[in-house]
């Protein structure tokens, strides 16, 4: 018989819920009959992030203050998928426009990975965005306080190797995009 890994949910409670801090407490039974309690899950919406290129081939990066770590790292644009988004591509296009002011010719899906399946219940969706053109009429989301910066793909490779990207999930997106573009190849 195949080994059983899954746990059976016995009870679920909400510990607290805020816009970005939503934590539930589960009581579960493991396959061997033992009880796990409390098991905390830190719930988070699915989000999308992209290696986004302007029409002339520059990569759009951002500087944004992250209060959890108290730093202002270099990041890829992205954000949460809303219930009102018709598709993942549309969610990505909306986030790119709101954060950077760029509209894109093509938004290419690369796949999804779990954020951190040990504590979170969400996925990250990864994209390459092609042919970005700045729309000067777009009102940027002021709440975000984002500084957009354009760099070459070669600079992104250097920044990646020198470990300037701090956000773990975005490092993942960069590698997926580089593999898809053939800039990195498994030997």
């Amino acid at each position: 018989m195949e080994r059983q890994f899954e746990w059976k949910l016995l009870k679920r409670e909400q510990l607290f819920k805020d816009r970005w801090a939503d934590i539930r407490i589960d009581t579960c039974e493991k396959p061997n009959g033992s009880i796990i309690t409390p098991f905390y899950t830190y719930q988070f919406p699915d989000f999308a992030t992209a290696l986004a290129f302007t029409k002339d081939g520059k990569v759009i990066l951002e500087k944004i203050y992250r209060h959890g770590v108290g730093l202002t790292p270099l990041e890829l644009p992205g954000g949460c998928v809303d219930a009102t988004d018709d598709s993942l591509e549309e969610a990505m296009a909306r986030e790119l426009l709101e954060e950077t002011g760029y509209r894109f010719d093509k938004i290419e899906y690369l796949g999804k990975v779990a954020h951190n399946p040990f504590i979170h219940n969400n996925y990250m969706h990864m994209f390459i965005a092609h042919g970005g053109v700045f729309d000067p009429t777009q009102v940027l989301d002021e709440e975000e306080d984002v500084e957009v910066t354009l760099v070459s793909l070669e600079e992104v490779l250097v920044l990646l190797k020198q470990q300037h990207f701090l956000q773990a999930m975005q490092v993942c997106t960069i590698y997926y995009a580089l593999m898809k573009m053939g800039k990195m190849v498994l030997q």
Partner: protein
């Protein structure tokens, strides 16, 4: 761009995390209150490469996401423990592998907007299974080894599903010359 913390209080504490509610002054003069920071422990993961050039992965159920995953072995740092010492301890306890060739790969923030913690990644080469495993009570895990070609297939089929660890796996493959 930095926010100034005007006030800060702990609103929940447990063994695995604590929730902090900050009152922050933003550069444009707005006051954000409350801004919750979920403080979580730092952790390590290790890319273990055996003497016969296989990678060691662990299969386990992850209840938060409700999926069974293949992941790098690792665990949280004990109080006062250095990341590399923690990586060596976790490797021995969780997989039974030991290695005298440990190197630092890189570090990232799993969720820097809301969490304060760091994930440290190491690589252990020429590892041998010498010790007995010693699992935490929460762990029901299977230790599996994969060749370079099998790892390439897992990646190509998107079967490794711990996003925080994937950058480190690619980083290790670059360093091993398994990718260029």
């Amino acid at each position: 761009m930095q926010w100034k913390i005007l006030d800060s209080k702990m609103v929940f504490q447990s063994k695995m995390f604590q929730a902090r509610a900050d009152k922050c002054l933003l550069p444009d003069g707005r006051v954000m209150e409350p801004y919750y920071v979920i403080e979580m422990p730092d952790w390590t993961n290790t890319v273990i490469i055996t003497k016969d050039q296989k990678i060691v992965l662990v299969r386990q159920y992850r209840h938060a996401k409700g999926i069974t995953t293949l992941e790098l072995p690792g665990g949280i740092l004990e109080l006062g423990e250095e990341p590399q010492a923690s990586a060596i301890r976790e490797m021995r306890e969780e997989t039974g592998y030991v290695s005298s060739e440990i190197e630092f790969l890189f570090q990232v923030a799993p969720n820097p907007a809301i969490n304060n913690n760091t994930a440290y990644f190491f690589m252990a080469k020429n590892a041998e299974k010498l010790a007995d495993t010693c699992f935490d009570p929460y762990e029901n895990i299977e230790i599996e080894t994969y060749t370079k070609d099998e790892l390439k297939e897992l990646l190509a089929e998107n079967k490794l599903q711990h996003g925080v660890q994937l950058g480190a796996i690619y980083h290790a493959m670059l360093r091993l010359g398994w990718m260029c």
